[in-house]
Amino acid sequence: MAETPFKAEIERVQKEYSEKMTPGAVVYLPGSSVVNKTGSWRVFMPEFNRDKCVRCYLCYIYCPEPAIYLDEENYPVFDYDYCKGCGICANECPTKAITMVRETK
């Protein structure tokens, strides 16, 4: 996935926050999740079988993160930087094109 154009700005603000507490711990720059990658929490990861996929996009719609985007041929692509491994996509997929497998290092 391409780098966010705000990365430098977000990192600057994050540095500022680590140096100065705001009243109520308000974060004045939303979007910091772009650099706070949440995919590291995952225990299971979705494994995608392109041959079985009918491009119905149920996985794309249901992903709560949303960590699924589409490639040039409109097949789902999983962004493992943000996929938290909830398994909803696998559950929703009508053709069982997605299976959850244990994450290994």
């Binding site: 926050y17 680590s18 507490m21 009243p23 711990a25 308000v26 974060v27 004045y28 939303p30 910091s32």
Partner: protein, 394 residues
Amino acid sequence: MPIKKVMKANEAAAWAAKLAKPKVIAAFPITPSTLVPEKISEFVADGELDAEFIKVESEHSAISACVGASAAGVRTFTATASQGLALMHEILFIAAGMRLPIVIAVGNRSLSAPINIWNDWQDTISERDTGWLQFYAENNQEALDLILIAYKVAENEKVLLPAMVGFDAFILTHTVEPVEIPDQELVDEFLGEYEPKHAYLDPAKPITQGALGFPAHYMEARYTVWEANENAKDVIDEAFAEFEKKFGRKYQKIEEYRTEDAEIIFVTMGSLAGTVKEYVDSLREKGLKVGAAKITVYRPFPVEEVRELAKKAKVLALLEKNVTFSVGGALFQDFSRALINESEKPKIVDFILGLGGRDVTFKDLDEALAIAQKALNGEAVDEVNWIGLRKEIL
């Protein structure tokens, strides 16, 4: 010209809210404070108060709606009591941590079990560590005034903390007294419009509130709540002074009554202070050197004022309608903390009384006085004494 009306403390609280012009009121009815939102809903329905009145399905939702509204940048108000306040507990921490200047009127009531709808202070006392400011009213006028003062302090930039104002269940919530309703223009001058600085909802300037705080930040965030409580001490004094100038009624964190040359000082809060002042009068007539002190501001705890008070007496007799297990009453704990490192200190004797709406009579106070006098004479007494306890049925 201010007008005088005869009203219950619940109505006085509703009038205070009306005068403060909150934009959102969210409330769930609970005895004994039901009349507060009821009266406010009338003000809103009659077009006398331009606000959203949100009817919610529980107190947890009431305070959550207030947090949402306050985070969006408007003045908010709610009222509750007892189990209702306890149900808000989780969100009370959030409101303080997010530094949202919400004001709650609390009709001080006991907590279950057994179910009891009458007065003591256990509900608000149990929330003393949430970070909220806490004021206690002696009468219906104070209920109104302290709500206005609570807004003034809560919204101060050096404070930005939520505040609760307690007034005793039934003794005040359901008893009528003459109450002066201040002029709207003067209240407007006193409070000003609430202008949110750190918490607002503005699509042009998006912010995140109530976000995750990692160990690297959580402690500092908690410290700022501590610091804001410390800042509130001066801000409260300033607000009291300004209030007196504008409305002519004087408030102090600790109000002293006939403490000059007193040997024993009774310390209490809320409506019990009225009874105790009368009692002190009766003792003074008998030539006894006894005084009274009323805690109006309980959080932030007025440590300095307690130290000053302690210099004036040989025995401080704390009269409290709450229990802190293994300790006595919460005041006993707070007074001990304030005085522990003082070189000269009076004896502190703690009295737990009037729980669950039991009347506190002169006879009860005689019982407390007898123990305080023993302490004065250097005799050994219990640190914690339950007054009026029916030992025969135990």
